[in-house]
């Protein structure tokens, strides 16, 4: 993938998280005070599955590599 494609992906993800942040904080009183924390929380929730899958994948790779080395 080239730089433009990475930029498009980043743009859409950022736009999505901003929309979710606004919809989650708009109804709260003094929304500007909650914006940053809500934004970070949504980011964490979004990337939890990715981190989880990546961790399992890396663990699996290391485990199989060690197994092969032992053989």
């Amino acid at each position: 993938m080239n730089k433009l494609e990475w930029l498009i992906i980043f743009f859409f993800i950022l736009l999505g998280i901003i929309c979710l942040t606004i919809s989650a904080t708009w109804i709260l009183p003094e929304m500007h005070r909650h914006l940053s924390l809500t934004f970070i929380t949504i980011c964490i929730y979004t990337f939890i599955p990715i981190f989880l899958v990546a961790s399992i994948y890396i663990f699996y790779k290391v485990y199989t590599k060690k197994g092969k080395q032992n053989e």
Binding site: M1, G16, C19, A24
Partner: protein, 463 residues
Amino acid sequence: MNRIDIKLGLTILLLLITIILPLGFVMNQIFYGFYVSQAQEETHMLSSQYASLINDSTVENRLEVVEVAAKISNQKMLALSDEGEVWAQSNFSMSHHDTEYLFDLIHSADSHHYMTNSFEDSDGKTYIATASHIHVNNAKGHVIVFSSLESIILSIKNVQNFLKLSAIGALFLGIGLTYFISKKLSQPLVSMEKAARQIAKGNYNTRIVQKSGDELGTLARAINDLAFSLQRINDQRREFFANISHELRTPMTYLKGYSKVLREERWKTEEERDQYLEIIDHEATKLTYLVNDLFDLAQMDEGRFNLELKKVNINEIIKLVVKKTSYKAQEQHIRIEYRGELSDKDDIVLGDLLRLEQIFLNLVENAIKYTKIGSITISSVSGQENIKIKISDTGIGMKEEELPYIFERFYRVEKSRSRAFGGTGLGLSIVKQLVELHNGTIEVESIVGEGTEFTIILPKISD
């Protein structure tokens, strides 16, 4: 549009929208239900409080007290007798038609507190209405508390807007991640498609870098193997045409040249003429061998190669081959030794006598060709079901990585060997096919500088 990444991306997006839309509807219903049930609870609590205040009190003007309390708390309330008389009402003006409609609702509710979620008065306003039983001076009636549905609908609309915004946000997030996933998933396929096109164009050096161990990795490795095979076949084909044209051109040049000399009678002595005739005969024989080899292979390819099968004594064939090749070996000062352990009676195979002789003759002649000093040993051992024949030499040998390819047509271990030692590059290929036609196997072991050993195993027949 007709691209795998777009199709994959659109499919994932469709899946995402299919989940978001019903989820949005369900969430909307949950919020609506939550607000309405809360309003129902509140109105029921109030109507119960008003009813207990009226029923439990002995004060004469208790209905006025309740009416004032409802007015102060800005609560829409109505107290009706079962005969239709309005006892008390606050913040509410009701037409005769509204009252009749309310009576109908009370009767259809069948003594249940919650009368309706959508009582619409003559002004067009919608209310949640909850009723409780009351007794005033031995007369029965109901106290009805109303809660406006408009405020709930307004709140729901607000929530709906935020739900829509969050759905759009989720969709954008989904588009971003889908773009990444579809690109990553389709990338190997796209690169394989490009590589396949390059291979189809004849760029056999094209290779795909795909390290994964899944089906995509296997497919990439299969394409790489295919490209490698095609490259080898292409190289062999080129080499074959070069060899064949060379092999044909050389004797043809001799034949043309010497026949011209003879036709123009440019020979000086009878001896010279005989020498020219001998050369013509030798080159014609070479040509015949080459054409015969090619013809045999073509027949084997087409499956039309017929063997004249009969009971054959391997021992006799090997002895005959040794006899035929010993003169040639002596010329090169090489010793041929046969260590036969076969009996003429029991060790019989079902085969074509001439073709079996061709197999051993070819291998022994090859051994003589590539051995400068030393000896050639032929040994035969009889097993329970097979006969094992080994032909080993002390020749120049071959590298281990060359061995899998030596039975392929026109394969040359080294390009220089074909020039130095001659041959068409078809001999071993014919040998292997002939052995397999006799239901046998042939294997080779070789060490560079030490020699080569061919092992043939043929099935034995019992009398």
